[in-house]
Each structure stands twice: as C-alpha cells, then as structure tokens.
C-alpha cells in the first residue's frame, strides 16, 4: 500500500475504541447483557463487533466502571452488566472530551469551507 491511499480501516478502529467506551457506558444506565447490547446498537444504526464488545466489558469491569451478575433464572444463563458510580463520573468526563473535540472539528471544518 502506498502512503497516499487512506487506510480508513485501521483509523476507524482507533476512533471506535474511545467511542465504544462512551457508548457502552451510556447504554448501561439500564442493565443489559452482551447480546442485547449488540442488537440495541444495531437498531441505533451502528455496528459493533461481538468479539470486541466482550473484552471491552471485561476491561471496564476490571477498572470498576461497570459491574456484572449472572442471571440463571431463564433457560439460558445471561450475564447482565450495569454502570457504577465511578463509571458515571468517567462517562461524564469522556462526554466532555468528546463534545470539545466535536466543537473544535465543527469550527475547523466551517473555517476551511470558507477558504
């Protein structure tokens, strides 16, 4: 591949990493299990790779930002996740960062569109 060709694939993966953190923390205001999260995200017009979501949930739980518990009452065991107080603080901080970045990008694209 030459340097002139944009490699959207790997850049998109990098951008998704931060975005998915915010999205999952936002979704988990209500208790959800992995598969239901994948389906819900699809209804929002976005797609998350299943094998990316579970390791992300594990990392968030390890850091104490979400908590989990197995529900064994149904036919199939399901692991439900919920956001913690530390997770809510992190989500608020990440949303601030994202809003700032968004504002800067919007301003920049407006400025350059007038050039």
């Amino acid at each position: 591949m030459t340097t002139n060709e944009p490699d959207i694939g790997s850049l998109e993966t990098e951008m998704n990493r931060g975005f998915l953190h915010i999205l999952v923390l936002a979704l988990l205001e209500k208790d959800m299990y992995g598969y239901s999260m994948v389906k819900h995200i699809e209804t929002l017009g976005y797609k998350v790779e299943e094998n990316t979501l579970y390791p992300l949930l594990r990392r968030l739980e390890k850091n104490g930002w979400i908590a989990s518990k197995w529900d064994l009452t149904e036919d199939r065991p399901r692991k439900f996740y919920s956001i913690t107080a530390a997770g809510r603080t992190l989500r608020a901080n990440l949303l601030d960062v994202w809003k700032t970045q968004n504002r800067v990008l919007e301003k920049t694209t407006k400025e350059t569109s007038h050039v």
């Binding site: 299990y33 992995g34 598969y35 389906k39 790779e49 299943e50 579970y54 594990r58 199939r76 692991k79």
Partner: protein
C-alpha cells in the same frame, strides 16, 4: 451442547492459557453464541451454532482481544535489540577469531568461556553465539519493558547504526549502471580464471612470467582451491547479473550463503604439503594464521551482511503486514 461450540471454546481456551479469568470468559462467549443461535435462527442446532461461531470470529483473534496490549519489548527499546545484539556478537566473534588464531582459551568469569577452537568448530560456533546473544538482549529488554520503568539505555554516538534501513540514495539508472559494470568486470575475471585453469589446472602461480608459469600449490590442492575460488567468482557474477533484473534482498541472502559455504570449503583444505615452491619453515605458521584470519574475517563480514539482509527482509514484511 453442540460439539462444535465446545471445540471452539476449547480452542479459545488454549490461546488464553494461564489467565485466571479464562473460565469466566468462556462462559460469556458460550452464553452469547447460544443466545445468538436461538434468537437469529429460531433454533439451537449445529447449523445455527456454526453460523454464530463464524460471526464471532476465529478463536485466536478472539483470544487476542483479551490479551493486554503491553508488548514484549516496548517500541522505544526495539532499536536496541539489533544495536546491542550486533555489538555483543561483534565482541563474541572477535573472541572466536582470537581463540582460533592464538589457540588459547578465553575466560571472562562468570560471563564467558571461550575454549580454543579449530576453524570448522569456530564456523559452527558463530551462528549459535549469534542466537545466544540475541536471546540475552531480548531477555534484558523484556524485563525492562515489563518493569514499566523509563530506563535510558546507553548507546555511543559514534557507533554505526546498523539497524537503520535507509532508502537507496542512488538513482535507479545509476545503480543499474554500477551493477552492470560490476557484472561485466566479474564476468571477465571469471572467464579469465576459467581460461587459465583450463590451460594450467590452477590459477595460483609463484611468478608472473606468462611463458614460464610456476604453480604456487601442489597439483591436487591447487586444483581444488582454484575450483573453489572460481566458484566464488562465478557466484558473485551470477548475483550481480540477477541484480540487474531484481533488487530483491533474497539475492543477497543466497549470495552470502553460497559465499559462506565456499569459504568453509576453503578453510577445510589441508595446509600441510600445500606449496609447490620452497618457503622458509618459520614463515609457514605465520602464512597459515594470516590466511585463516583473512578467511575468518571475510566470513564474519559475510555473516554480518547476511544477518543485515535477513533483518531488512523481516522489517519490510512487518511493515507490509501493518
């Protein structure tokens, strides 16, 4: 429970070996796949499970997502892997040459013991020494990386940066022209050596009188040594001719390997009763050491060139994979 699902989980488990939370991870994946198979196909048969597994991805890729991103050697220290290995190997190689030339044991207690070596033993020892040096440096850099500390590693400014892969500075046609000139010169030398060999059964002479040439070596060894040297000329010519059409580093690798083999053959030739002309007795051991030293030096340079070519090929492959 589907056998395919259990086989898939077993494969993921294999790649996650040593992780405390392995069972929990496998339970999560099992739950997800069974849920997906039932929800999306309305059944939990083998076909549905197989589709859910395919969507989840290959076992190794899945397991890798759970592995921490911390590299074996931190990017900042990667350059030191080849820098330090090269320095250590150069030191090792110098000691090897000394062990051969001086026929002495060398001990740097408790780090190194170099017994006196014969020429062939030395040639067999050098690749092992290189791998050991690479292993030692890798181990040290691994522990520095895992410690997470910002260690500033020393590197002398005057040292040659062997790990730097610089793009060719010469223009395409200029480098092709230089290769073509080299190929023509080497072809002429090879042809001339073959012509001389066909006439005299040797290419080494004790005088320069064309009408009355006196062979330097005895007929048997002279013929063998001449053929090995002609083969070295021919290999160089061939490499240059191939390089007219391709700049592949594999040509350099092949050329270095052939050269090392031929140098090894030269070093195995017996020295006793080699000369057909009279040489003072006290000079013979000195000539022998000088020739062995020269050949080992050429072998060392060729080995360094070979390692460099392999490193450059590996780096290009890694860069392409990224």
């Amino acid at each position: 429970m589907s056998d395919k699902l259990e086989a898939y989980l077993e494969e993921i488990s294999h790649f996650l070996s040593g992780r405390a939370e392995r069972e929990e991870i496998l339970s999560e994946i099992r739950s997800h796949i069974l849920e997906k198979a039932a929800e999306e196909t309305g059944a939990s048969g083998d076909d549905a499970v197989e589709k859910a597994i395919a969507a989840f991805g290959p076992a190794r890729k899945v397991a890798e997502r759970y592995v921490d991103d911390r590299p074996i050697i931190a990017p900042a220290y990667k350059r030191y892997l080849f820098r330090y290995t090269t320095m250590l190997f150069a030191f090792h190689a110098a000691l090897t040459v000394m062990a051969v030339v001086f026929k002495e044991d060398f001990v740097i207690f408790p780090l190194l013991f170099m017994p006196k070596l014969g020429v062939i033993e030395a040639l067999m020892y050098l690749p092992t020494a290189f791998l050991a040096d690479l292993g030692i440096v890798t181990g040290i850099l691994y522990f520095i990386t895992q410690s997470g500390k910002d260690v500033r590693l020393p590197w002398p400014k005057f040292a040659v940066d062997l790990d730097e892969v610089k793009p060719p500075t010469k223009s395409f046609w200029l480098s092709r022209f230089a290769t073509a000139v080299g190929a023509v010169i080497m072809l002429a030398i090879t042809d001339f050596a073959l012509y001389v060999f066909a006439r005299h059964r040797t290419i080494f002479f004790a005088n320069f009188d064309w009408d009355n040439l006196r062979p330097l070596f005895m007929p048997g060894p002279g013929r063998r040594i001449s053929l090995i040297v002609i083969a070295m000329f021919a290999a160089s010519t061939m490499a240059l001719l191939i390089k007219l059409f391709t700049r592949s580093r594999w040509v350099d690798v092949a050329s270095s390997v052939v050269s090392l083999g031929l140098i090894g053959l030269l070093l195995t030739q017996p020295f006793n009763d080699l000369f057909a002309v009279r040489i003072a007795e006290n000079l013979l051991p000195k000539i022998r050491y000088a020739v062995e030293f020269l050949l080992l030096f050429i072998a060392l340079m060729t080995t360094i060139e070979l390692v460099k070519s392999i490193v450059i090929i590996s780096r290009r492959k890694l860069a392409r994979a990224r």
